[in-house]
Amino acid sequence: MTFAARSWQAWIVLLLTIVAAITLPFTTNSTGFNSTSAVITLALLIAAIIIDGLRLGNALKAVLLFIAAHGAAWLLISGIAGQEGTAKLSFYLAIAAAWLIAWRCVTLLSGLRVKNRSVDTALRILIPAIFGAWILIIWEALVRGAGIPFILLPPPAAIGQRIANSLPVLGADVRQTIFKSVFVGYVIGCAAGFVTAILADRVPFLRKGLLPIGNMVSALPIIGVAPIMVMWFGFDWPSKAAVVVIMTFFPMLVNTVAGLAASSHMERDLMRTYASGYWQTLWKLRLPAAAPFIFNALKINSTLALIGAIVAEFFGTPVVGMGFRISTEVGRMNIDMVWAEIAVAAVVGSVFYGVIALIERATTFWHPSIRGG
């Protein structure tokens, strides 16, 4: 074993572990951490340093480092649970060391060249997953270690527990907000923007008159519009869908209008030489050329729709819905429920965006931005 083979992470881990060992114990009162678990934690860190210097295959080394890093993190977090706010310097140093080992593990994983496609796909998912997990681990360790009040920032484990315990409520909220308000509003708003763009393209008078008004609609403050929509369409989801329609209409209109101008003069001359009619040229040339623009609008709107629907629920709603839950649970100091809703909204929003991005890749595969040059 040569020392030169070690990574820079290993050297810093070595330094952190030494200082952590000198400044033991991990907490001001030692009831949670018995000396055994402290010793095992430090032993895991030392083991990781040694493993990193061994002549092993990168895959095996990554697996061993993975075990060491997460074992140490688990010991640290389960030790601090129940005695929040008592962590000392060595606790943070040990967490930092474990994090560096995980970093080294990810570096090794991303350097792997795998021929098997499914293994390659698994790796591509695993690497960001480890990365994301460590954001949560550090969040958990810092919040518990420093004893940050629950109301300011609950630890992720508590949020996860809340999600697991409130699945029926969260499910009902998702049904109300996502599947009714967002989905209906998004479809109507995008479709209306698209049709208006085609009309504006076809009828010059609309192009001159409608686009400036569309511009004004986009500038309407959603906070002001939402209560009015509640007056017009009632407390239930249609008023939220109406807010989403207003929010999504304009990005689709502007992008489609820009997209319809995206085909080149030469391409349009070509269609003219075939004596192609307006609708044929639209269908066979201008809409396919506009597809990248239209997908851009669909992606922008997917996040806008979510924001619009949640915020709109702050202004009157039946006793269900993500926005309603957030506003009432804040009032009841149930911050973990607020975070649970935020987490669900983030996941749903990402899935929504991801599905559209996948459809985009399949449809506009020909565009230089996707086929790569």
């Binding site: 391409e267 001359d269 030489t273």
Partner: protein, 272 residues
């Protein structure tokens, strides 16, 4: 049925595919009017291969675009197959090949070639047969399922020629189709174009910058000059219809090329 036969001239002579007389075209620009074409008289008969050559701004592309009804003349008369250019365009009387291939990137080569056929409403079976035949004509068999961006520039331009041939118009308008290609590919495509012309007996109007290309391809060379765009010379080629590439070293070829060069120089003397 031959469309030119329907449009015999009053005097009963062989009708012209293209007849321009006193043709003028003025663009209104922000810097005032620009006279792109002035007093052009030209008649092109069936089966001719006519090249238009001249420096930039001489109106050769504008003339081609006027034939194609992509620009409207502002003076004189212009007929295509005895019709107005607009009627001719609506009758799909010509295929147009642009300077760039202008293939639609979301369509495969066969669907690009089939584009005019889809627009013109040919049956699926007929489309397939024509696509196969025209791709074979430009030696692109085997590339049906490729996308344009997967092919070289020369192949793309050949696909665009196949597209212009697919609906069997008797008139082919080509606007510097090989201008962006390198010399070797260009020679090759010139040879293939002559072959195709001999086989199909189409009327071809061909805009080019290159004297050897014009002389090699044409039965007639129209020399044009700018400011205002006009025809300064029309040269009948004495070369045989059968032209191997090495005909370009014969004295006859060189003398025609010299005449074209003189014509271009005479047009230019106005600038100096």
């Amino acid at each position: 049925m031959n469309p030119t036969q329907q449009y015999k001239r009053a005097d009963g002579t062989q009708s012209a595919v293209i007849a321009a007389s006193g043709l003028g075209l003025t663009f209104q620009t922000n810097d005032g009017p620009v006279q792109a074409l002035s007093n052009v008289d030209l008649t092109i008969g069936k089966g001719e291969f006519v090249s238009f050559i001249g420096p930039s701004g001489c109106g050769k592309t504008t003339f081609l675009r006027a034939i194609a009804d992509l620009e409207k003349p502002t003076a004189g008369t212009l007929t295509v197959n005895g019709m107005t250019p607009e009627q001719a365009r609506e009758a799909r009387a010509y295929g147009y090949v642009f300077q760039a291939a202008a293939l639609l990137p979301w369509r495969t080569i066969e669907r690009n070639v089939g584009l005019p056929l889809e627009i013109m409403g040919n049956t699926k079976a007929d489309q397939q047969a024509r696509i196969k035949r025209t791709l074979d004509m430009v030696n692109l068999t085997g590339f049906e399922k490729k996308y344009p961006w997967q092919l070289s520039g020369g192949m793309q331009q050949r696909a665009s020629i196949a597209r212009a041939l697919a609906f069997d118009a008797d008139l082919l308008l080509m606007d510097e189709p090989f201008g962006a290609l390198d010399e070797i590919v260009r020679d090759h495509l010139n040879e293939q174009l002559l072959e195709l012309w001999a086989r199909t007996n189409k009327t071809i109007c061909f805009v080019t910058h290159s004297i050897p290309e014009a002389v090699y391809l044409s039965t007639r060379i129209v020399v044009m000059s700018p400011r205002p765009g006009r025809v300064t010379d029309v040269i009948e080629s004495t070369l045989p219809r059968e032209r191997p590439l090495d005909i370009r070293e014969t004295p006859e070829f060189l003398s025609i090329a010299a005449r074209v060069r003189d014509g271009l120089r005479a047009g230019h003397s106005y600038d100096d």
